[in-house]
Symmetry: C2
Subunit: 461 residues, 2 copies
């Protein structure tokens, strides 16, 4: 009724610095920064020189920084304002549908032009590349969520963007490809004949439909062999990527002040960790430094249960064992998760920061099945109007479960989740759900056991 | 830089009444209200009894009302707040790309959960139907923009929603169908065997792929023969529909106050007239009553140039000559426009209010070709990030043309257009444009001449 539905900040209230969790990590920051990143060949810590071939220097510096607050460059803020600050909603209709005393909030990142949180880091990375005078970026994309964010960001800074898109998605999901091309990006189905690695794959298997691992390897090779013309951009996992996303949680903190409440539980879906980290870290900062006791809950798919079932050890970042080795929760880099529709959550590993925090008990995790997750997504859409991305639906399912526990206990807890993206490009998955064509996958125990036999042998000095 | 990019109203500043242009029309209001609506059989003015079979009484009352302000029911405001107030943007990056002294603004209606302005009336109509205790609505949809809006609205008010979707779209564009189904609607490919009219079509032509005209006739028949169980809902053309959309222009007026500017030119794309009317009427009200002299410009496709080339006369509202007859600009109800990608603008007629205002000289119109319109859309997307719906792209093309005239003349005019919807569900059209598969159609002179021979013979007493 007259009660407020959404909490909207004006542009002048947009945070002007990101929160860098490095100095507040419960472990030696070295364990999660670059010096815990090992070269896939030598298995020795990588050097800044090695990294600078791939990443802009400012990005590398952010990974090493122990400054708690890192100013958002004005050029980046300027682009953010095309859609930021994003709204925080009170999900009153969902509360009513669930008949729960809980107060449910969601931060809506689907308002960005490409419909997800991904531009928060894409814009920063593109600015850093522009600043260094490079020609453009290479990157990989699965269904296209990350690729479309980076394409838009490169377009704003007059950079080229060369996207290696997993071939099966390129063929079956043309819409995000068109979005990338509309922003002027070139999109190459991977494996391709543009890289040595792609050529080697095609030589053995001309009909190979690709994988994210192959696409990463192609994009990395294309940047590494460009004599500095191109840098490589990654949309999750790395510390600076998570840090760029903290604007989400920082805005939410201000919006909860407007709402006059503070969350008891913070929920995010988790694949590589960027939307979760970006939403949760500012609340963890309050836990660490301001005596708050918010529960922080990560929701992952049962088909790829990295945190809840993975081993906390050193593993390659990619499937092809060409990317650096990091310490993280992993299901084994050779593990191929079942083809669930939340493609963004099908990663064998996890952001090292998140893993360290989970290992330390600062974060909880829950693994969810696909079918009840879509069921929760439909319930949410019918209550609130917004069709969420299948990835985001995991956060919704976990939120609804917590809200129903409140109904049992009669507690009016405040629960907030990150609605990291809308599902406009994922309606094929909803079609399959509505036609009852989806199935749940049990935790793939044997496949993971097998994958664990391929972990790299690492002996740190 | 520090200059403001968007102007955001808080919920408490959302307008609480719609603007009803009836009392300010430059013609006898009777000419645009129901008493100028003729029965397609008798060709006599329709009675409220006839209309009440199809429409909720409150809706019929709005059409007849001479009250300038009609309060938005609290239940409707409550749903509006899921996405309203919508933002007004200053398109600084587009201005820079065009190197124009003009100030370009756009009101962004793509923030609604279904991505267009359509829910502004769908929600009101659904509330009126609920209030009357009916079971649900029938309606037609082409590509699905209107159908998805009404599906969402019905879902919020626990009404059934039965959508007759043009069969070729049902088969080729499944995504908006899935969106409708996610909101619990039933979607029937039209022509269907559910209605007598559909059966008669299929009997002659079992492979008929449908048309909007056929779908309208099926939806109307389904409501008219339901013994009051269902009402019929139309998403454009009618007076109350345009009035429900005036919240767009009323919000924009407040936002221009925040911006400290006032538009010299208002632009909207035009098919049936609802997004255009909703944006423009509040500014026309200022022209009529407050001495403002804003130019109001409608942008229509050259392939279906209803205002610029149509005859201002009595014609059927639908292709099948089963819908009422109204006085409007028309290309002839049997005219079949070329298959351009802006499906929402392929209507032979036009809202009677808009026609009367155009005839009186209060509104200007321009007809635009498809290919340069997509070119403008891409230029806008690359500048501002948002991919517009192909319909909306006509408003953008007209705006850019005006901004370039300002560049010639050196005038810093303020130009504002209604970004009525995003193009997430229209990327197939962008794909065709980027592949250079689209062509322009000349004004179909002969086809219109032929269609004009089928106008109904009307002799008003």
């Amino acid at each position: 009724m007259a009660e407020q539905t959404k909490f909207v900040l004006s542009e002048k209230d947009m945070p002007t610095a990101w929160y860098n969790i490095n100095p507040d990590m419960p472990v030696n920051p070295a364990e999660t920064a670059w010096n815990a990143v090992l070269h896939p060949g030598t298995k020795e810590p990588v050097t800044p020189d090695f990294l600078s071939v791939l990443f802009p220097m400012r990005f590398i510096g952010e990974a090493m920084s122990l400054d708690r607050w890192i100013e958002i460059p004005e050029e980046v803020q300027d682009v953010y304002k095309l859609w930021r600050p994003s709204p925080l909603y009170r999900a009153r209709r969902l509360e009513k549908a669930l008949d729960t005393p809980a107060h449910i909030y969601y931060k809506y990142e689907g308002v960005s032009p490409v419909g997800s949180h991904k531009p928060n880091t894409a814009v920063a990375q593109a600015f850093y590349a522009k600043e260094e005078g490079v020609t453009g970026f290479t990157t990989e994309t699965g269904a296209g969520q990350w690729g479309s964010a980076l394409s838009m960001a490169c377009n704003f800074f007059d950079l080229e963007c060369h996207v290696y898109m997993v071939k099966v998605s390129y063929q079956q999901k043309p819409y995000r490809r068109v979005l990338m091309e509309s922003f002027g990006a070139s999109v190459t189905p991977s494996p391709s004949d543009k890289t040595q690695y792609g050529q080697s794959i095609l030589a053995n298997d001309p009909d190979n439909l690709g994988s994210l691992g192959i696409a990463i390897s192609e994009a990395v090779e294309a940047a590494a062999t460009s004599n500095g013309k191109y840098k490589y951009s990654l949309g999750s996992v790395l510390g600076p990527v998570l840090m760029h996303q903290t604007i989400v949680g920082l805005e939410a903190l201000k919006q909860f002040e407007m709402a006059g409440e503070y969350p008891d539980i913070i929920v995010g879906c988790i694949g590589g960790g960027s939307n979760f980290g970006g939403f949760a870290f500012p609340f963890l900062h309050q836990n660490f430094t301001a005596g708050k006791k918010t529960r922080v809950l990560a929701a992952e798919p049962m088909a790829c249960p990295t945190l809840t079932k993975g081993l906390y050890t050193f593993d390659y970042g990619d499937t092809a064992a060409m990317a650096p080795i990091v310490k993280m929760h992993t299901l084994g880099h050779t593990f191929v998760p079942p083809g669930i529709h939340a493609g963004g959550l099908r990663y064998h590993g996890m952001a090292p920061h998140i893993c360290a925090l989970y290992d330390h008990g600062d974060i909880e995790a829950v693994a969810l099945h696909q079918v009840p997750t879509f069921e929760a997504a439909i319930q949410f859409a019918q209550a609130e109007g917004i069709i969420p991305a299948p990835e985001t639906a995991h956060a919704i399912k976990a939120t609804i479960d917590e809200a129903l526990k409140c109904k049992e206990s009669g507690e009016a807890k405040v629960i907030a989740f990150n609605l990291s993206g809308h599902g406009h490009f994922d309606l094929g998955a909803y079609d399959a759900y509505l036609k009852k064509e989806l199935e749940d996958y049990e935790y793939p125990d044997e496949a993971v056991q097998e994958a664990m036999t391929h972990l790299p042998e690492v002996t740190l000095g």
